[in-house]
Every structure is written in C-alpha cells, then in structure tokens.
C-alpha cells in the first residue's frame, strides 16, 4: 500500500484536508496546499456575485429557449439518481425549460438510483431515454482498466456518459447539454487520482492492450466526433455554476419536494463506483476521493474543517457487511474468482502517463496549442461557421 511519497513526511493542509496521498501536492510556508489555493483562484474567476449570476442565467435561459423554439426539447440533461444531476433536473424545470433526460445504464445501477430517477422524472414530468451499455463488452473494458492498474477505474463510464449525451442530443437536434458538474462541490481533484475522462485515445489503448473483445457498441467520444459536435454547435453547460449552489440546501429541497433519497456518500449511486471509491482506491492506491470532495466543501464554505475531519476518519463503507457484500458482488459480476481479483489488486501501480493518450500525442499537442492561440482559434471558429 502506497500512502504517500515515502521520502517525504505525511502532511495535511492546514486549511482544507488534502494531504500527501496526492504525490503532486505542494505546501506553502503557511502550510496551505496547492489545491485549496487553486480553488480560490478558480473561484475568483468563476464564482460570480449573486446578482451577476442572475443576469447571466437569465440570458442563458433566453438563449436556450430561443434556439429550441418549435422543437420538442430545448435541452438535454443527464440523470444518474445522484444529488447534482437530480438538482439539475429540478432547476431546469423551474426555469421553464423543456428537457429530455438521458440515463446511462452501465450495469451497476443500485436500486436507490433507479428509484430516484423514476420518482424525479415522474414528479417533474420529464421524458427519459436510457442508453444501455452492452454488459459483456463493458465488462471487458472495466477489466482492462483493472489490469492496466491505473487509479482511473471509472473512466470507461465517464467517457460513455458524455458520448451518449452527445449522441442523443445530436439525434434529437438538441443544442444544449446541461450538466451538474460544478465548482463549489467538485473543483478539487488531483490529476494523479483521475485523468483522461475525455481521452478516447487513452481508453482505446488500454483496452487494446488488455481487452479480449472488440468494442463494437461502446459509445466513445473521439477527437473527430468532438469536431463533428462542434460543427453541429452542441454546447455543454454546467448549469449549477450559474446558480448559488448549496449542496445541503439542494438535498433538503429534493427530499421534501420530490421524495428523492440521499446516499451515504458522493457518487455512491452506482455499486461499482461505491466499491472503487470505498475499497479499491484506498486499499490499492492509498487515497480516498472523499478527501477531495470534502476539501472542496470546506473551500466553498459549505462544511467546517472539523466536520470534514470527522467525516474522513470514518470508513467509507457504512458497514462491514455492505463492504463484504459489494466485494462478492463485484468479483462475481466481473466473472473473476476471489484469487484472480486479489491478484489484479496486487499488480504494480501505473499512472495515466504510462499509456499512450491524446495528452501525450504530438499531433493533438499541436491542436491544443492552436486552440490556445486566440487568433487561430477565432479563425478555426469562423471556418467552422461558428461565432
């Protein structure tokens, strides 16, 4: 078990609770870490005063309504059953938009997740489309990532979510995809813990190396697909950044008005996510993603540091029974024996950079450089007929 770089001593940030379980963390003289400093830097730019937000939100809603006039739906939302996506559904209806919801079924939904989705959509009157991944194929991909031994075990799902959203949006000619990603509860996440959600080249290469079958039906988001959606003028908007988003307040509203039920922890609506974050990551990779989530809440003033420390001291699993149950279930569902699974967990740790990706490809480096260059970016946009 690697807890932190063993050459340095263990340290926790004095302001948030990020620690040396991120090997790239840097502390200043006052003992503050690079993550919370970065948070405030982002917050300064992206978290606007309430009245400014109101104006921007108003303008955005107007634009979405205008573009969607005469169409059945004016925006697309993703639903997982979790707080953020459910709150997006709630907000979007409150704003008078006409959303179509998409759910990605990767074969790991919990009962609570499907119940939450059912309740929410019925209560709010939102139509649903489910994108069901082919399990045998997806299992092969998830196993490939376990074999690749990188901590970003959930990337196959993240990639499929974004790809399926764009697929459904373009098929229904919807121009706006509204997501629940947000600064105030999610801004902190060390690069070494998870990279490459949108890096199809990385996913493809990991699968090529460790997978058994061809991925025929898996929805992916390649560079060229991205260009195509860019051409279609499909926008992704993180709508929760347009409102003063308070997580506890959101939970309260959803529980009262929809009958939605909360989970024990962030992203625990999927059994695999729960197991990855609650078992594999701490055990094999020596970090606990809750640390990043709680630190973000401290920075955005939604939780005290004391509460966060209390929270992180607890086992991510509420009970040992559930942990054992999930363990058996995951092993069985992946078609492994306990011994095979333990062997996968004991493979030497690798990282994102150990496999070829868009990030490491010189061709895409040039493209990204071009994107950074304002003049060229404007020229490309003009060329693609986009203002």
């Amino acid at each position: 078990m690697v807890l932190y770089n063993s050459l340095e001593e263990y340290r926790v940030c004095k302001y948030c609770i990020m620690d040396t379980s991120d090997p790239e963390i840097i502390f200043d003289e006052e003992g503050r870490c690079s993550h919370c400093k970065r948070y405030f830097h982002i917050a300064q730019e992206r978290i606007l005063p309430d009245d400014e937000l109101k104006i921007r939100l108003g303008a955005l809603v107007e634009k979405i309504k205008n573009k969607g006039r005469g169409r059945k739906y004016d925006c697309l939302i993703g639903v997982s059953g979790g707080v953020d996506s459910t709150y997006v559904a709630y907000i979007v209806k409150k704003l008078g938009l006409r959303p179509l919801a998409v759910h990605l079924d990767n074969g790991w939904d919990s009962e609570l997740a499907v119940k939450n989705i059912e309740l929410t959509l019925k209560k709010l009157g939102i139509d649903l489309f489910t994108y069901v991944l082919n399990w045998e194929e997806f299992k092969d991909l998830q196993l490939s990532f376990l074999k690749a031994s990188t901590p970003d075990l959930e990337i196959p799902t993240d990639q499929a979510i974004i790809a399926s959203l764009f697929f459904v949006a373009s098929r229904n000619r919807i121009k706006y995809i509204l997501l629940g990603e947000n600064v105030v509860t999610e801004a902190i996440m060390p690069k070494r813990w998870s990279s490459g959600q949108s890096d199809w080249k990385y996913i493809k290469n990991v699968h090529k190396k460790f997978g058994k079958f061809k991925l025929k039906r898996y929805p992916y988001f390649s560079f060229f697909k991205r260009l195509y959606y860019f051409y279609l003028k499909c926008h992704v908007i993180n709508i929760l950044n347009y409102i003063p988003y308070d997580k506890n307040e959101a939970i309260d509203i959803l529980e009262k008005e929809i009958g939605w039920k909360n989970y024990t922890s962030k992203h625990y609506e999927s059994i695999y996510t729960r197991f990855v974050q609650g078992y594999i990551l701490p055990k094999k990779f020596g970090f606990d993603k809750r640390r990043a989530h709680l630190s973000t809440l401290i920075c955005s003033g939604q939780m005290s540091r004391e509460r966060a420390l209390e929270e992180i001291a607890k086992d991510p699993y509420s009970s040992g029974d559930l942990k054992r149950q999930d363990f058996n279930y995951v092993v069985k569902k992946l078609g492994l024996t306990e011994g095979e699974f333990e062997r996968l967990l004991s493979l030497p740790i690798k990282k994102f950079d150990d496999y070829p990706s868009y990030a490491s490809s010189s061709f895409y480096r040039i493209i990204r450089f071009l994107e950074l260059n304002k003049t060229i970016k404007a020229w490309v946009q003009m060329f693609l007929g986009r203002r």
């Binding site: 759910h103 079924d105 074969g107 790991w108 939904d109 919990s110 009962e111 609570l112 499907v114 119940k115 989705i117 059912e118 959509l121 139509d127 649903l128 489309f129 489910t130 069901v132 082919n134 399990w135 045998e136 059994i271 279930y329 069985k332 569902k333």
Partner: protein, 251 residues
C-alpha cells in the same frame, strides 16, 4: 390471499432482452444487476425464461442460473430448453424453485406427469403460449411462438391439470410487450376450465390491468415491459409497484 405480482424476465445469450409479440428482442442489460435491483424492491417472485434455448437447440445455461440463484433472495422459476428429468434435477439443485415447461410439455405430456410425480406438483409449471388467428381463434404455440400446434389453450390446460402440474403460466403472444393489457377472454376461458392457479402474462402496462386479469380468474399476474421500461421512449429503468399500491387495488 394476496395476488402475486411477478416480473417475467427474458434471457437470450446471457443477456436480458424484451420482446414485443415474441419478436424484436431489444437488449436491456445484464440479468444479474436486474435481479439485484428486484431483490431490493422486495418482489414476491421472479420468472426467467430463456427464449433462445429451445429455438437454437442449445442446452440450459447452468452457469448463468447459478449466478442468478446466488443473487436472488426470492423464489424464482426458470423455463427454457429443458429436455430431461436430469435437467430439472440440476436446476432444482442450483436453487430454482419452480420449473417451467413449454415445448417439451406439448411434445410429451407424459414428461410433465413424470416430473410432477418426482418433484411435486408445486414445483412444475407448464406455460401456454397462445396466439389468435385472423378469426380470433386461439391456438397453442411452442419454440418461442415459432411452431404452431393443433392444441387449443383450454384443451391443453385441462391436459396439464390432469398431468399433475401445479400451475399454468398463460401468455398471450398477441398482447406480449404491447403494454395494452392482457387477453382477458383467454384468461377467463382457461382459468374457468381448470382448478389449478393460472398466472396471467403478456400485455400488462399499468396496475389496472392486474385488477382486470384477477377479475377474470387469474391467481397471479406476471409482466415484463411494465417493470423494465419507463415512459414513452421505453427507456430501460427497473421499477416495481409498492406492495400497498397493489393491495389497495386488489382489495
């Protein structure tokens, strides 16, 4: 007695599928996760039908059934590709509570008799897949609705009862997967003719349909689409009515 409300899940090559009128099997996911969700929804019992086993003359996928059994905390029945007493023995050993016979029962009713004697009536269900012709006359089909027989559902039901089977799973091919309601006439005819319980199947789309089937004489109701699809786009989302809703309806 409370009416049992049974999700009926179709399997094809280890996958969960949903058909309409026994055709156009749509992939809806991994059976094991569906079982896990139904478990937590406290479902009375589950029915699994392997719809490709008889047609493709494949054997039973015992591995899958073992996985289902280890995850399924409620009684479940299995049908599809059963050819021998040995098969039944193995299924029961794996934890299947009731065995559903179809093609083999039509071909050889003596087999049902033997099975019922060996394993007890309560563990043998015979399924009747019925379809109407253009004049509304009903006929029994086998092999997933592909092979037409000369049997009439009522006549066949009487034979089934005589053979000692404990239950009949009565499916209307015309209504299956349509969400438009059961073939009530068929339920009335068959359940009126026999004394063993009849499980109505094929066509349920809302709770009211259950009530109608029970009024026509069904002892239990089964449904597929209604429990796996949501809304007008038939989005895959597993659901199950709360026990109180069912009780209120059935009285």
């Amino acid at each position: 007695m409370n009416t049992r409300v049974i999700p009926c899940l179709l399997i094809k090559n280890r996958s969960l599928v949903k058909t309409e009128k026994f055709k156009n099997a749509v992939y809806i996911g991994d059976p094991i996760n569906a079982v896990k969700i139904f478990n937590e929804k406290e479902v009375d019992e589950l029915v699994f039908l392997d719809i490709s086993a008889s047609i493709e003359k494949r054997g039973i996928d015992f591995g899958l059934i073992e996985d289902i059994a280890s995850e399924c905390f409620m009684p479940f029945s299995y049908g599809g590709g059963i050819k021998s007493i040995e098969d039944i023995k193995r299924l029961i050993n794996l934890g299947v509570e009731k065995i559903i016979l179809n093609s083999i029962a039509v071909a050889n009713i003596k087999f049902v008799e033997e099975a019922a004697q060996l394993f007890g009536s309560q563990s043998i269900i015979v399924s009747i897949d019925a379809k109407r012709d253009m004049f509304g006359r009903c006929c029994v089909y086998t092999h997933g609705g592909r092979v037409k027989t000369k049997l009439h559902p009522v006549g066949f039901a009487l034979e089934i009862e005589k053979s000692g089977a404990g239950e009949i799973l009565l499916t209307s091919i015309d209504m299956e997967g349509t969400l438009n309601g059961y073939d009530l006439e068929l339920i009335k005819e068959v359940s009126g003719a026999v004394t063993i319980p009849v499980i109505a199947n094929g066509g349920a789309g809302q709770l009211g349909h259950f009530q109608q089937a029970v009024q026509k004489g069904a002892s239990a109701v089964a449904a597929g689409s209604m429990f796996v699809f949501h809304g007008k786009y038939k989005a895959v989302l597993i659901s199950y009515p709360h026990i109180n809703e069912v009780r209120k309806l059935m009285g």
